[in-house]
Symmetry: C2
Subunit: 231 residues, 2 copies
Amino acid sequence: MVAPSLRARVRAGMIDEIKAVARRHLANDGANLSLRAVARDMGMVSSAIYRYFPSRDDLLTALILEAYNALGDAVEAADAAVDRADLRGRWHATCRATRSWALAHPAEYALLYGSPVPGYAAPDDTVAPAQRPPLTLVGILRDGVADGRLQPPADELPEPLRADVAELGALLSVDLPPALLARGMAGWTQLFGLISFELFGRINRMLPHRDEYFDHQTALMADLIGLSSAG
Amino acid sequence: MVAPSLRARVRAGMIDEIKAVARRHLANDGANLSLRAVARDMGMVSSAIYRYFPSRDDLLTALILEAYNALGDAVEAADAAVDRADLRGRWHATCRATRSWALAHPAEYALLYGSPVPGYAAPDDTVAPAQRPPLTLVGILRDGVADGRLQPPADELPEPLRADVAELGALLSVDLPPALLARGMAGWTQLFGLISFELFGRINRMLPHRDEYFDHQTALMADLIGLSSAG
DNA sequence: TCCATTCCGAGAGCACCGCTCTCGCAGAGC
DNA sequence: GCTCTGCGAGAGCGGTGCTCTCGGAATGGA
């Protein structure tokens, strides 16, 4: 690793500043990020931005990558803070951390999990960061099966599906009974739906105690999976 | 009701044609609908569109309203086609109809359930059509409780939440035990998450048998609710 | 030290967008 | 037949992403 030249360091600082300004615009104005507005905020002309990002989509991709990793950090830290044996506590901590991050960064959450921008295709280097939250959830299941605290469901999946889910598990490098992994995916799907409804929808605008509602809904999924508390 | 004049009929036809062309553009180009492109397709100049829709958002609102009602029609028809006593069959039919409509109209589904457009606020006359799919689902629960086929969960919800959910049930004009309604909402949330993941995400791009996966996931929620088949 | 190379910001410009305003025409109603 | 209303065309404003050129400045090797 050669020491970066002054130019390289200035350039990296510029890239960081552009991303910071863009993130601020995202939080204020929503998803329609304007390159020209970012440039104006930095006292530059719009064409100068293109020295650092070849297109608006590339800037968005950079923001998406950072957002995925910020969410992954928050989720993994929340899981790590709970006693390893307390499967149910870890599940709740992970779910709550996801929701908290989403409520604190709604525009970035929408960027990650909202409707895709029509012309935009996520590059391959986003899939690994994108898998961190669901991997944290299935990690709880893996630990539970490993030490016997978590009983897999009695029924196995019917065949065309069992092979699919087993292959998906292999792809995620988790060795779980497919029927259990399917329930974990149900929990992840439910979590995503809960947060999206709370952020985007107006269905539960009439539920004043949203924290309690969220905890109860994730508890339902913890029951479905069979997660137990510690002890 | 006075007979509409020729002018009024021509105008109504124009509005319909604009909406049809706009819907086609939506399906092809995604969410970023261009008024000028619609006008070009109709051989008009862009300013002429404003004779019929005061703004682009109003056109979008009209499309959203039609989409909600199209989805509601499909969902209610699917539920009505199943034996009233077959609660589980009705649940699956309703879920499948929702998914089928979404897969057939991905852009309109994204319009309804995707990330909200930043400056856009849905007017009040969209909430009633928007409630038709979830109302169909809770209708299944209502029928099940009414004829005794569906046993509510034994545990009642803890207090701050129980009152919230009870009030929500009253607002939807369904008299259900709050704990059961909460499970129904879990099913609706799960359904939305499943469809959104399939349409937007790339997590289950690696599940070839998506129909089977969908059916299994909705069956898990039917189990959680306690829905039984007929007989 | 000098010079060629590289990098970068400014500016003009293109095509597109939503939206407003004016103008002239044609049909509807009196 | 006349007036009034509705409608399409056109020009125009400010905004967008993006491209290209130009000139200045810093870099790094001779």
